[in-house]
C-alpha cells in the first residue's frame, strides 16, 4: 500500500497479525490438494488420456492459487484499523479496496469468533454489527488476547457514545 497517508498517516494503522496469512495459505493448500486429488482420480479412472480441457482447468486453478498465495501476505497487510477519537476506521482489500468509518455510538454488537484454523494459530476474528447490514466490518486475524481487549475497549466506547438509531 503506497497511499496509506490517507485518511490517517501510515504509521497509525493497526495491523492484524501476519500469521493470519498462513491461515489463508493453508486453505489454499487444501484446495490445491483437493484439485490435485480430483485430477489424479480422473487420470486413474479415465484409463486413457483425459481430454485437453481437463488439463487446462487444472492449470488455471493452480495458477490462480499460486497468484492468490503470492498476494496472501499483501492482502493481510492491507487489513487495518484505527481507533480514532469518535469512530473506528477500518480498511481492507487490494483489488477491491474499502475504507469504512463507524462511529462508536453506532456499534450494536462486537463479536469474537475463532474457527479451528485460527485457533491453531492463536488468532481470532472480530465482527462488528451496526443497524445497517451493509456496514459488514470483519477484522480477521487478530491475536486472541488483543481481540478480546479490543472488544472490551469498543464496547466501552460504544457505551459512552451511544445515540438513537
Amino acid at each position: 500500500m503506497t497511499e496509506t497517508e490517507w485518511p490517517t498517516p501510515a504509521e497509525t494503522w493497526q495491523r492484524v497479525s501476519p500469521r493470519y496469512a498462513w491461515a489463508d495459505l493453508v486453505i489454499n493448500l487444501l484446495v490445491t490438494l483437493i484439485a490435485g486429488g480430483v485430477y489424479g482420480a480422473i487420470v486413474v479412472l479415465a484409463n486413457e488420456q483425459p481430454p485437453i480441457f481437463v488439463h487446462l482447468i487444472v492449470a488455471a486453478v493452480v495458477l490462480f492459487l499460486l497468484v492468490n498465495a503470492v498476494f496472501a501476505f499483501r492482502r493481510v497487510r492491507a487489513l487495518g484499523y484505527v481507533l480514532r477519537e469518535d469512530d473506528l476506521l477500518f480498511r481492507k482489500g487490494i483489488m477491491f479496496e474499502r475504507v469504512i468509518a463507524v462511529p462508536y455510538g453506532r456499534l450494536q454488537l462486537v463479536d469474537v469468533t475463532r474457527g479451528p484454523l485460527l485457533r491453531a494459530l492463536g488468532l481470532a476474528t472480530l465482527k462488528f454489527v451496526t443497524a445497517s447490514a451493509a456496514t459488514g466490518v470483519n477484522l480477521p486475524g487478530l491475536p486472541a488476547a488483543e481481540a478480546e481487549a479490543l472488544r472490551d475497549r469498543l464496547v466501552e466506547l460504544a457505551e459512552t457514545r451511544r445515540s438513537g438509531l
Binding site: 490517507w6 485518511p7 480514532r84 477519537e85 469518535d86 469512530d87 476506521l89 483489488m95 477491491f96 479496496e97 474499502r98 475504507v99 469504512i100 468509518a101 463507524v102 462511529p103 455510538g105 453506532r106 450494536q108 454488537l109 454489527v129 451496526t130 443497524a131 445497517s132 447490514a133 451493509a134 456496514t135 466490518v137 460504544a158 457505551e159 459512552t160 457514545r161 451511544r162 445515540s163 438513537g164 438509531l165
Partner: protein, 612 residues
C-alpha cells in the same frame, strides 16, 4: 427538533444509570391505561371472518333450492334442472331433524364460547414505557413495544372492518417482527388509542434526559399523565373528509357510522393550516399509465407480439404469468394510491390511502432515516415525482398487502415534493426558503454545490454521469444532511440526515481503481433508499469521506450529549463540561469549505451544549 433521543438500538445492554430500566412489572398506578383493556367485542367475528364466510357458503349451497323456492315458483326450477336429492329432504325423511338442530346449536355455542373466551383473553394497555398486548387462551402471547422503539402507528381497515366500523391499530417498532397489533377496536376508539400512544412517545422524547426518563421520576410522570388526560379530554376525534374538514357530531348513530366508514383520518389542524398534500385520482391514473411499470407491460406486450410472429401462439402463453403479475402491480398501485393524503399532524407525519381497504400511517417526527424522490422518464414532461422513505421498522413489514410500503407520496408535483421533504426532515425550523430553493435546484436544476462525477466516470456511470452528484448540506449545523442525485432515464435525489448514518464507506472496485475514481456510500438501516455515489474522482472522494465521517461523528455526539446518553456518572447538568475536552480534541472538523460542501452561510441555529 433535531430528532429523537431514544436508544432504539436493539441488542445493546443499557448503560448503567441511563437508558431503559428492565421491563419490570408496571404497577397499576403507574400505567396510563390503568387497567388492561379489551378489544372491541365484534373483533373475533372479524378475525374469524373467513371461517364464517366458508360456513355461510356451505349452508347457502345446501339451501340454494330452498331459498330460490321462496322467490320463484316450483315449475321454473323444474325447468332449470331436475331437483337433486338435497340434504334437508334427507334429514327430514330420516327424522333426524332434532339431532341436527341440536348439533348445530352446540356448534354455534362452541364457536361463540371460544370467540368470547379469546376476546376475554385479548387485552392491551399503554404504560409509561411500552404498549403491551396479551392474547391467546392455551398459548399465551405477551407482546411489548417499548415507547422509544416505536417507529410508526398505523390504522388499518379492511373493507369488512370498515362496514362493521372497526379498525386495527398496528404499532411498528424497530427490528424484525417487532409489532404489536390490536385488532380490532371501534374506529373512534382506535383513533384515540393512537393519539395516546403518540403522545406517550412524544412525551418520552421530550423528557429525553436519562434521569427523568425513568418511570420512578414523578415529574415526568405528571407531564405524561397530564398530556394523556388531555388526549382523553379531547374525546372522540370526529371523522374527517377528504379536504381535512372535520364533520360535526352526527345526530344519529347510523350517520356517525357512515361517516366513520368514509373517514379520511386527517388531522383537522392540518386542513386548517394548509399542510395537506393530496393526490387527485386523475393524476394517479395518469401517473400509473406513464410510470415505469406500465412501460414494462407495454414493452413485454410488444415483445410477445413480435415473437408470436416467429414462434406462433406459444409465446403468448409464456408471457401470461408475467403479464398477470405486472397488471396486479398496476392495480395495487391504484388501490394503494387512491385518495392519498399526507398531512402534518401534531405528533408526526400522517399518510393515508386506499380504495377498499384503507391504511393510515403515522410516523413520529425524527424517525425518518432517508428520503428519496424518483422521477421515471414518463413523468418528466409533467414534472411529477414519487417519494419514498427508509424507516427502521418498515423493512420487516414490507410483505403486507395494505401497507404503503415506504411510499409517502405516490405521485406529486415539485411543490408537493418540497413540502413533503420539509415536513419529513426539517419540521418547524426556519430557513425554509433557503432549503426550498436548494432542494429545487437539486431535484431539477443543474445541482449547484454538488460534487460531480470525476473525469472518466462515464465508463462506470454511462449516461447518468451528467446528473450524478453528492453534497453535504449544512455541514456545520445540527441538521447536516447528505444528498445524492443520480439517474438518466429515471432521475432521483436521495437525502439522509447525517444523524441517521450508521457508517461511511469509500470503496474502489477494480474499474474505479483503473480510472482513478472511488465510490462513496453512507450506510443506513435496511430500506429502499441507497445512499451511494459512484465515479467520484479519488482526491475529491477522500476529502468528501473525511467531511462525511467528521460530520457524522459531530452530529451524533451532539445529539448524544444533548439527550444525556453519555453515561457520565456526573449529574446531567455537567454533561457539557465533561464532554468539552472531547470536542476540543476532535480529530477532523469540517471547517474549510470544500467542493463537497457549500459555505454554510445559514441562519444561526440552536447549538448543542458543548459548542455553546
Amino acid at each position: 427538533m433535531s430528532g429523537e433521543s431514544e436508544d432504539l438500538a436493539a441488542g445493546r445492554p443499557p448503560a448503567p444509570g441511563s437508558g431503559q430500566p428492565e421491563p419490570a412489572p408496571v404497577s397499576e398506578s403507574e400505567s396510563l391505561e390503568l387497567e388492561w383493556r379489551r378489544l372491541h367485542p365484534l373483533s373475533p367475528l372479524l378475525r374469524g371472518g373467513l371461517f364464517l364466510i366458508v360456513i355461510a357458503g356451505i349452508v347457502i349451497a345446501n339451501l340454494r333450492d330452498r331459498i330460490l323456492e321462496l322467490f320463484v315458483s316450483r315449475e321454473v326450477l323444474d325447468v332449470m334442472g331436475p331437483n337433486e336429492s338435497d340434504l334437508i329432504d334427507f334429514i327430514v325423511e330420516q327424522s333426524l331433524l332434532v339431532w341436527v338442530l341440536l348439533a348445530l346449536l352446540v356448534t354455534i355455542l362452541l364457536i361463540v364460547g371460544f370467540s368470547w373466551l379469546s376476546w376475554r383473553f385479548s387485552t392491551f394497555r399503554i404504560t409509561r414505557e411500552a404498549v403491551e398486548s396479551r392474547r391467546g387462551v392455551l398459548f399465551r402471547q405477551h407482546r411489548r413495544a417499548p415507547l422509544e422503539r416505536i417507529q410508526s402507528v398505523n390504522l388499518q381497515r379492511s373493507l369488512l372492518a370498515r362496514v362493521l366500523g372497526l379498525t386495527q391499530v398496528d404499532v411498528q417498532t424497530a427490528g424484525q417482527g417487532g409489532k404489536v397489533d390490536l385488532q380490532y377496536l371501534g374506529h373512534r376508539d382506535a383513533k384515540q388509542v393512537r393519539e395516546q400512544i403518540l403522545l406517550a412517545v412524544g412525551a418520552t422524547r421530550a423528557a429525553g434526559d436519562a434521569a427523568t426518563r425513568q418511570s420512578s421520576s414523578p415529574a415526568n410522570g405528571d407531564v405524561l399523565l397530564e398530556r394523556t388526560e388531555r388526549a382523553h379530554g379531547a374525546g372522540v376525534v370526529p371523522a374527517v373528509d377528504f379536504s381535512g374538514h372535520a364533520y360535526g357530531e352526527m345526530p344519529g348513530a347510523m350517520d356517525a357510522r357512515l361517516r366513520d366508514a368514509v373517514d379520511f383520518d386527517i388531522d383537522p389542524s392540518a386542513g386548517e393550516s394548509g399542510s395537506l398534500i393530496k393526490v387527485p385520482v386523475t393524476r394517479l391514473i395518469a401517473s400509473i399509465l406513464l410510470g415505469s411499470e406500465m412501460l414494462t407491460v407495454v414493452l413485454i406486450g410488444i415483445a410477445v407480439m413480435v415473437s408470436s410472429i416467429w414462434f406462433g401462439p406459444v409465446a403468448l402463453a409464456t408471457a401470461l404469468p408475467l403479464a398477470i403479475v405486472l397488471v396486479s402491480i398496476l392495480i395495487s398501485q391504484f388501490n394503494k394510491g387512491f385518495n392519498f393524503v399526507l398531512s402534518r399532524a401534531s405528533d408526526g407525519v400522517r399518510v393515508g390511502a386506499g380504495l377498499t381497504a384503507t391504511t393510515t400511517e403515522t410516523i413520529p417526527f425524527g424517525r425518518v432515516h432517508a428520503v428519496e424522490a424518483i422521477q421515471p422518464i414518463g413523468w418528466r414532461p409533467l414534472g411529477w415525482w414519487k417519494v419514498r422513505i427508509t424507516t427502521a421498522g418498515h423493512s420487516a413489514a414490507q410483505a403486507g398487502q395494505n401497507k404503503l410500503q415506504n411510499t409517502v407520496l405516490p405521485v406529486g408535483e415539485l411543490d408537493d415534493v418540497l413540502k413533503v421533504c420539509e415536513v419529513l426532515l426539517h419540521d418547524g425550523e426556519d430557513g425554509f426558503e433557503d432549503r426550498r430553493s436548494a432542494m429545487q435546484d437539486a431535484l431539477t436544476g443543474e445541482g449547484r454545490g454538488f460534487l460531480k462525477a470525476g473525469p472518466g466516470a462515464g465508463w462506470v456511470l454511462w449516461f447518468g454521469r451528467g446528473r450524478a452528484g453528492i453534497r453535504v448540506d449544512d455541514v456545520a449545523g445540527k441538521q447536516a444532511s447528505l444528498r445524492i442525485r443520480r439517474g438518466w432515464l429515471t432521475r432521483s435525489l436521495s437525502v439522509m440526515p447525517m444523524l441517521r448514518a450508521q457508517s461511511v464507506q469509500l470503496s474502489r472496485p477494480l474499474m474505479h481503481r483503473m480510472l482513478g475514481l472511488a465510490t462513496l456510500q453512507a450506510h443506513t438501516v435496511l430500506g429502499p433508499v441507497r445512499m451511494q455515489m459512484r465515479g467520484v474522482a479519488l482526491e475529491d472522494a477522500r476529502h468528501a469521506f473525511d467531511v462525511l465521517a467528521a460530520t457524522v461523528v459531530r452530529v451524533q455526539r451532539n445529539e448524544a450529549v444533548q439527550y444525556g446518553h453519555r453515561a457520565e456518572p456526573a449529574s446531567h447538568g455537567h454533561h457539557a463540561a465533561s464532554s468539552a475536552p472531547i470536542a476540543a480534541e476532535a480529530p477532523i472538523r469540517p471547517e474549510s469549505p470544500s467542493a463537497a460542501e457549500v459555505p454554510a452561510a445559514r441562519t444561526p441555529r440552536e447549538v448543542g451544549p458543548e459548542e455553546a
